[in-house]
């Protein structure tokens, strides 16, 4: 049983029998962002669940993805609910849509993850730089021997389309 991980006043528990998350976070610690890919229909999914939501097959294998994507939505937390986040406010939480499998198998689908938008030194990115449509790439925040959080930082690439952020 791995030791619980303390992070920002929270206890993160990923026990040996966590058949959804244990390997996901262990791969993140190896700085690999992985999705489950169905061995039946070949489609990837997130979160890492036990059956394919597209074909119901049980078989899957980990598939590394590029970690590149676009901010699909975001929020700026100005009043922390968790005490350990108070010194991080205002901090951005982003919904990132990965480049892989966008709009498949239906136009409404995509591989989307929740993370913080952080600077290269893992501080919250400035609000003025957070916008829907902005390009981002994964960066790993190591927390323990067996666990890292996949976070995202701004990618040095032009936005492919419209960029939008909440006005002042």
């Amino acid at each position: 049983m791995p030791e619980p991980v303390q992070y920002r006043g929270m206890t993160l528990l990923v026990p040996d029998n966590d058949s959804e998350w244990k390997e996901y976070f262990a791969e993140a610690r190896r700085h690999r962002l992985v999705m489950r890919r169905c061995t039946g229909c070949g489609l990837m999914r997130y979160p890492p669940t036990h059956a394919c939501p597209w074909c119901m097959a049980l078989g899957w294998a980990w598939q590394e993805v590029s970690g590149r994507g676009t901010i699909h939505s975001y929020e700026i937390v100005t009043q922390a609910i968790q005490p350990g986040f108070k010194d991080w406010t205002p901090y951005p939480v982003v919904l990132v849509e990965l480049d892989e499998q966008r709009g498949a198998p239906t136009p409404d689908e995509g591989l989307r993850l929740v993370a913080n938008l952080v600077t290269p030194d893992l501080r919250p990115e400035a609000e003025a730089n957070v916008a829907i449509g902005t390009r981002v790439r994964v960066v790993f925040q190591d927390l323990a021997e067996h666990l890292a959080l996949p976070q995202f930082m701004l990618a040095d690439e032009p936005a492919p389309g419209r960029v939008w952020r909440l006005g002042p």
Binding site: F25, H72, S73, Q79, L95, V114, N116, I132, W164
Partner: protein, 408 residues
């Protein structure tokens, strides 16, 4: 709207409603409050302990259970169930009560929710909930500081602003309308009318939500009683008929609401196609709406998704005056969760029942007899004249919702 009504329409009624005081200092247990609310609803219906044989409740490991409440009141149960859930449960359990009665499991069901939502388990997620260990599905959000309902839903709200140009100023009108209504409600926690500028000037909580875009954590218990139309006809209060109900209708891949797009779409997109055909009416036939206003945005999103305006035009709709008392289709005439108090949805059903009876408990001296002035100045009347049909839009989260259409 030409549709075929299904079999359950008008065959079940809400026969009684009741609640406790809305406060931020109940000083008592959820059991004590639930007993008072259920008893108030029984008295409202003219039912004794021997007349209630079913009980349902919903909670999130923060409340008492049906067997305690029934025992306190001397009720022997033929059916009970305490389910996990918050918003969207009221309407869903009304539907389940109808089903239990339909198959003969029981005859009359009291449905309650009791919560010390301010003094014990804070609904906003602060206190003990913020300190709980993070495991399982929570690992997808909480390590990133995404915990509370506001933090959880803000992705949907922000994406709606991006997709449709919805503005903070537009949705602030929801709070303005509900505060206007609460100023006519002696029970409301927040009775002061506010302006759009007040909302926009209040501090940010999680952008795009200001403090006044958020509902008010409250201690309270609430209850509605469901029975057949035949039995309801013999009871003390004017029965209100269930025309249609939809319970916890969900978007695909509902475990995380942001998993399936469009992210700015909410569950009403699916629920409307169940509830309106069941009731045999369309949105244009509804006189009063009660929407789950955990946030200003949730009311806007639901009114739009159920077709009270076109998709994407919710911002313009809620800022047009139509949802205010005196407007064409008032919403949350009690002040709702934003102003009256936060009840996980039950209070908006209670309010609509009273609207349909014509006995809304406003400041009119003879309100209980159904005599109203229809003067919507502060501290006066909040009864909608000749309300025939109401609709409740229940919300658990962007991906799950319930709906209930009632008529007098």
């Amino acid at each position: 709207m030409l549709v075929q009504a299904r079999g359950s329409r008008d065959r079940y009624c809400i026969a009684g409603v009741g609640e406790t005081e809305y406060s931020r200092d109940s000083g008592r247990t959820t059991r004590a409050m639930a007993v008072e609310a259920v008893r108030n609803a029984m008295v409202d219906a003219g039912l004794g302990a021997a007349d209630v044989d079913g009980m349902l409740s919903y909670q999130n490991n923060d409340s008492t259970f049906a067997p305690f409440v029934a025992s306190d009141l001397g009720i022997r149960l033929d059916f009970y169930m305490d389910v996990v859930g918050g918003g969207s449960s009221t309407e869903a359990l009304i539907g389940l009560a109808m089903g239990a009665i339909e198959v003969g499991m029981c005859r009359t069901v009291a449905i309650f929710r009791s919560m010390n939502g301010y003094t014990e388990v804070r609904i906003g997620g602060t206190g003990a909930r913020a300190a709980a260990p993070v495991r399982g599905p929570d690992l997808a959000q909480r390590p990133f500081g995404m915990t509370s309902a506001g933090q959880n839903f803000a992705m949907t709200f922000m994406r709606h602003m991006h997709d449709y140009g919805t503005t903070s100023e537009q949705v602030a009108h929801v709070k303005v309308a509900h505060s206007k209504h609460a100023s006519q409600n002696p029970k409301a926690l927040l009775t002061e009318r506010v302006t759009v500028e007040d909302v926009l000037g209040s501090r940010w909580i999680v952008k795009p939500l200001h403090l006044l875009d958020c509902c008010v954590e409250t201690d309270n218990a609430t209850c509605v009683i469901v029975t057949s139309a035949e039995r309801a006809g013999d009871l003390r209060s004017r029965p209100v008929h269930v025309m249609g109900v939809a319970g916890r209708v969900s978007k695909p891949r509902v475990d995380f609401h942001w998993a399936h797009g469009p992210v700015s779409r909410v569950a009403g997109y699916y629920a409307k196609d169940l509830v309106f055909p069941m009731a045999g009416i369309g949105p244009e036939d509804v006189d009063v709406t009660g929407s789950y206003d955990a946030f200003t945005f949730t009311t806007m999103l639901q009114l739009e998704e159920y077709g009270f305006c076109k998709k994407g035009e919710g911002g313009a709709y809620v800022s047009s005056g139509v949802i205010e008392l005196g407007g064409a289709r008032p919403n949350n005439t009690s002040g709702g969760h934003l102003c009256e108090g936060y009840t996980h949805g039950m209070s908006m059903v209670i309010e609509n029942v009273r609207q349909l009876r014509g006995t809304t408990d406003d400041y009119c001296p003879r309100a209980a007899e159904g005599v109203h002035t229809y003067d919507y100045a502060p501290g006066r009347c909040r009864q909608v004249k000749d309300a025939e049909i109401t609709m409740n839009l229940g919300w658990a989260m962007p991906a799950t919702g319930s709906a209930l259409i009632l008529r007098r």
